[in-house]
Symmetry: none
Subunit: 217 residues, 2 copies
DNA sequence: TTGCAGCTCGGGCAAATTTCCCAAGCCGGA
DNA sequence: TCCGGCTTGGGAAATTTGCCCGAGCTGCAA
């Protein structure tokens, strides 16, 4: 890892939208101490870029098409346990946050955060601290207090990922392709999710995902 | 409207994520001819900002929480028919694209597009042309729809009623009972609605109903 | 160490639904 | 009158659902 104090903080940006990456890059580099040394637009490339550039911090959006971003976190951390990963996404569900941290993320900030909060989170993570935006802290706090958690708490990581894609409009085959699963498995998850959540209709599932903040409409 | 040739193109950015807005701002302003004169983070503020700054182009993400971005498009266009609105979002469902254009958008580009495609789309829209990214053009082409009318305008009264109940979470049998129809008829309507709107999954149908204000979630 | 529990992944198979194509009655407009 | 549209449903093939099953894996606890 580089000497942060002397050279600033090197950042690997992982997001599937080119213009979004370019925007972040400009925002971060305007800070002076942050340098984007590489970009990746999918989870598969993320580790390669990480290895090639050894960045101080990986800033990564977990809602990418294809393999789950959580997968990417585990992937990187498994092979480089010292990696610092800051999850940066539009999602703000407690289950997702918890999943990200237990996958090995060092921080979690939402895109609703002020830019200053984001860059400060990057600096914190680079120092080895844990970081999260205020809204995330609030959500985790509420979550830990409520005895009956969100419906989503009943769901496993895979189930949540499949629910998100399904509610986003993806077909069963598309989800199977994205996640490299058999159609049958996705169908089974679909059924399991319905029984676990009590949804009797696909429409109810979509509404559930929307009210839980898993999907935006 | 400003003199585009002399002053460049003034842009109003509407997106609910502050850092995303700031990123776009920097990308756009690095172009020289594009100037972000205002930002808004929700549909409600968008029209106020539009009126206050009279931008050449509104660049707007329709996937905002709360009120529909489509509503914002209609809102602006109803009161300022000369407004040029470029939808810029991560969604690429044919129904959404159609809904956006029939709501009065001048262009539709996805966030998967190259930054150069986005800025070119802004310039096209500023000239009064229609613009869309390549992926959107492909999706629309495959969808091969009749370019007239709002998505809901294609639907008959019965179809809209069935869509509303379906999106509200009712099963096919429940709808049949409510409306005193055979299950078969409701199934046929369900299928017809999907083909007419271009929705490929039930989830897309629910999203469509929600974005059109047919259902609230 | 063993064992249990829970997640993940998929096969199987009957029942149900979806997907299309079709027909017929009704009604309003040219 | 005829055309076009909405509404209502049948039929048959294709697909999905509902539910049950087992197997591999991981973490955790005794």
């Amino acid at each position: 890892m580089n000497d942060v104090a002397a050279t600033g903080i090197s950042v690997l940006l992982v997001d599937d939208h080119p213009i979004v990456r370019q925007g972040y890059r400009r925002v971060l580099e305007s800070q002076g101490d942050l340098h984007v040394v590489a970009e990746a637009d999918n989870a598969a490339d993320a580790y390669g870029a990480f290895k090639a550039h050894d960045p101080d911090v990986v800033v990564l959006d977990i809602s990418m098409p294809g393999a789950s971003g959580l997968e990417a976190i585990r992937n990187i951390r498994a092979r480089s346990p010292r990696a610092r990963i800051l999850v940066f996404t539009m999602h703000n569900e407690a289950v997702l946050v918890k999943a990200a941290f237990s996958a090995g993320a060092s921080g979690f900030v939402t895109k609703s955060s002020e830019p200053s909060a984001v860059v400060n989170a990057i600096r914190s993570v680079a120092r080895g601290e844990r970081a999260m935006s205020d809204d995330i802290a609030h959500i985790l706090a509420e979550d830990s207090l409520s005895p009956t958690g969100s419906v989503l708490d009943q769901l496993g990581e895979r189930e949540i990922e499949i629910l998100r894609q399904f509610a986003g409009g993806a077909t069963t085959e598309e989800i199977a392709t994205h996640l490299n699963l058999s159609v049958k498995t996705v169908q089974n998850y679909h059924y399991l999710i319905k029984t676990k959540t009590g949804a009797r209709t696909d429409a109810q599932l979509v509404r559930l995902a929307a009210t839980c903040g898993l999907t935006k409409i």
